[in-house]
């Protein structure tokens, strides 16, 4: 006799498993082709954060743009997806150096883009592109507007030494998205226009990198150079990370765990200073940049901010962090541009 829980579990697992349709399964491959295309999750260095991404694999012609990651002194990497699975990653496109850092990137649909529902598999037409351009040009909050074609995007992508070679190899010119790179006037409220542009036909995605940048740095202690700062986010009650399994009380880190983590990290020779950011502090920092939409203070994680000595070995510190109980995520905050912070 099965208990009700067993029954529910059995059914939930079977239903979730059935999400995968055998017909669409990517065939396994053996031999050298595998090694070349093998998927690998790895770090890609980006300008002000290190983000780990999946590397494109399988049939490269499916590599398409889906959503964005910021990379390279100037701006944006682009996560690429395969249409069947909805996740792969990384291509990147960068603003021409003289145009400064883009605040907003409007990625346009191109033919090979069935992953994006907003594109419906269609490339943007000339008229649609003109319409988007007109809308952006007429917006009062736009300071500069630059169009980046596929060739240029590819060139910038290949020239970006923060992007790993295997990603570069996997991406072709026709995989790159066209985009409008927009610089926003300081202080402008452009949220409603983002929504408007997003809804225009032929627009694949609008990325508000200025907001991403602000989110990344919100709450960092005054006067700490970003490139020497590491944030250690502790497990949060009700959080969904599978890594927080060892913590009691619905997987929120206990005060003891926070204390142990803090004491351990503080005692490392690489660490110059530490600061604990409570959930309330995190919430206030988020509020101050207007990024709390749909969230409550309950969604914030307590974190320990670390200031490392110049030239300290980040990898060693991260290794120690990974061994600590109750840690959910680690964030590094490298410079926003390659030359200065």
């Amino acid at each position: 006799m099965n208990s009700p829980v067993e029954e529910r579990l059995r059914q939930a697992l079977s239903e979730a498993g059935a999400v995968i349709d055998p017909e669409t399964l990517r065939p396994l491959s053996a031999g050298s082709a595998v090694r070349r295309r093998r998927v690998d999750m790895r770090w890609i260095g980006v300008s002000w954060a290190r983000v780990r991404l999946l590397i494109p694999r399988a049939s490269r012609r499916w590599v398409t743009v889906a959503s964005v990651v910021v990379a390279a002194g100037v701006m944006t990497g682009v996560m690429v997806t395969s249409p069947s699975e909805g996740t792969l990653s990384t291509a990147a496109a960068v603003l021409p150096p003289n145009s400064g850092m883009a605040d907003l990137s409007v990625f346009l649909c191109h033919g090979d883009n069935p992953a994006l529902p907003s594109c419906g598999g269609e490339a943007i037409t000339k008229e649609q592109r003109l319409a988007v351009q007109r809308a952006l040009r007429s917006a009062p909050w736009v300071e500069t507007l630059v169009f980046e074609g596929q060739r240029e995007a590819f060139k910038n992508f290949q020239a970006d030494d923060l992007i790993s070679e295997s990603v570069k190899k996997a991406v072709r010119v026709q995989d790159m998205p066209e985009s409008f790179r927009v610089k926003i006037r300081p202080g402008a409220d452009y949220q409603s226009l983002i929504a408007e542009v997003k809804a225009m036909p032929g627009v694949a995605q609008v990325v508000d990198s200025s907001m991403l940048r602000r989110q990344m740095t919100a709450g960092l202690p005054e006067g700490w150079p970003q490139e020497r700062t590491i944030s250690v986010f502790m497990c949060r009650r009700g959080g969904a990370s599978a890594l927080c399994e060892a913590t009691p009380s619905e997987r929120g880190a206990t005060p003891e765990q926070v204390k142990v983590a803090h004491d351990t990290l503080r005692s490392l020779p690489e660490v110059a200073n530490t600061q604990v950011e409570t959930r309330e502090m995190a919430w206030k920092a988020r509020q101050s940049i207007g990024a709390t939409a749909g969230q409550t203070p309950e969604d914030m994680n307590e974190s320990i901010r670390l200031l490392l000595h110049p030239d300290a070995d980040h990898a060693r510190v991260i290794k120690v962090i990974e061994s600590l109980a109750g840690v959910e995520r680690v964030v590094e905050h490298p410079c926003p541009t390659s030359t200065s912070c």
């Binding site: 990517r26 999750m41 290190r50 991403l212 890594l243 959910e328 995520r329």
Partner: protein, 180 residues
């Protein structure tokens, strides 16, 4: 290669190597779907699940000379997939949290349409269990493996497998507000 191996090869020239090797490719061909689904249940997103299985296949294939016992091969392959899932989860932990959400897992709100609300609740509760319990419960209630099979796959003893499942079920029932 030792002399007697040469001899065996010469003798079995008509039906090369298959007799000495476990046919890894065949095992994967037969079980790929199940393995990908297992990985999906562990990881929550399909692309990573397929990658883990591909990776496990590549590795097992490369070391197939060491895999001589066909009875153990499937358990070995399942272990490889579980290990792959573990390292994906470990690596995910070091992604930054605030700015970029990563792939929506199948049980996230975004894909609620795929898996019903009531199922999602169970899957979320499962995700919240400690790793070993989560693995053991999935092997038992998804793949219907026996205690010894689960023990072999996870590299633990039969008794530990049994008690892990019992504790996992109890914890799950508690989370779901049910009696186990």
């Amino acid at each position: 290669m030792r002399l007697c191996d040469v001899e065996v090869e010469l003798l079995t020239h008509g039906e090369p190597l298959t007799r000495q090797h476990v046919d890894v490719a065949a095992i994967f061909a037969e079980h790929q779907l199940g393995l990908v689904r297992l990985a999906l249940l562990m990881l929550g997103d399909r692309a990573s699940a397929e990658d883990v299985v591909q990776e496990a296949f590549t590795r097992t294939h490369a070391s197939r000379d060491r895999l001589r016992d066909p009875d153990k091969a499937l358990a070995y392959v399942r272990s490889a997939v579980l290990n792959g899932c573990r390292s994906v989860l470990r690596r995910r932990a070091t992604v930054f949290r605030r700015a970029l959400p990563y792939d929506p897992p199948v049980w996230s709100a975004e894909s609620a349409a795929l898996v019903g609300e009531e199922r999602r609740e169970v899957l979320l509760a499962l995700q919240r269990l400690p790793r070993r319990q989560r693995e053991a419960l999935t092997l038992r209630y998804y793949l219907d493996l026996s205690d010894p099979e689960i023990a072999e796959t996870m590299g633990i003893s039969g008794g530990t497998a049994r008690s892990t499942i019992a504790r996992g079920l109890a914890a799950l029932a508690k989370q779901l507000g049910e009696r186990s």
